[in-house]
Symmetry: C2
Subunit: 126 residues, 2 copies
DNA sequence: GCTTGACTTCGAGTGTGCTCCAACTGCGAG
DNA sequence: CTCGCAGTTGGAGCACACTCGAAGTCAAGC
């Protein structure tokens, strides 16, 4: 049995496609994934763990560019952890604002929904 | 003084660009905007009101395609209000799910933030 | 030993939602 | 009258994040 997971297994696990996984590696979000004797990718635990964070970053709307900035900090060593922290904290703030904007905007749509329900109720009682 | 607002005024009011406003009209999200004697758009109250809803739909992630479906229902008359209501309710559900996914994903990032704070505190006390 | 299926690379293509350019028109201020 | 500005059109271009096609490799199962 081979060490590590194949691209297909990681795709299944992360919800990304195999295409996307290769592309993430290509653009530098993932470090070069080790290959087995046949040249096939074998994702290590740390690769999958990184993907865990990366997918959450993406899912919360962080642009790939900024994810890459973060990863480059990670690669540069541990001395820049304050900078990494700041990047994450800033993103956190962005996401919180995002959530509250969604809630605010949804309220407008909710009012519309209420209005339609009113129309339809009125029709009903005609 | 002319009736209605110019494209620039509506842009300022809605936060969309003039380019986008013309494009919305072109793709059918807005009914053809009446022109003044010089051929310039004059947005009526109802156009601006529609934009109010449209921008909230977009801001909450509704694809333009689906917005268009809604607008086509509006154009088709009042008999399909139940269908419009369903579309809005479905979108509402989507947005609520979106919010809770953001919260869930943010929690992962928060854990990372906490870890970095831990590292940095430890460093501090070295 | 052949087929099947998952993998490889490279580069091109796609969908979405704008965004902009070029060339032109018309209005108001000075 | 001229300037500058805001508007017009049609069509091209762009950023982003994938997504896919083609052609080939390899190993396992029948």
């Amino acid at each position: 049995m081979e060490e590590g997971l194949s691209v297909g297994e990681v795709a299944a696990k992360t919800g990304l496609t195999a295409y996307t996984l290769r592309w993430y590696e290509q653009v530098g979000l993932l470090d070069p994934i080790p290959r087995d004797h046949a040249g096939r990718r074998r994702y290590r635990l740390r690769d999958v763990e990184r993907l865990d964070l990366l997918t959450k970053m993406r899912a919360t709307g962080m642009p790939v560019r900024e994810m890459l900035r973060y990863i480059e900090l990670v690669r540069a060593g541990t001395h820049n952890r304050r900078e990494r922290l700041e990047l994450l904290e800033q993103h956190r703030t962005t996401v919180l604002r995002q959530i509250s904007e969604l809630e605010r905007d949804l309220a407008v749509i909710d009012r519309k929904i209420t209005r339609y329900r009113g129309y339809l109720d009125a029709e009903q009682t005609d």
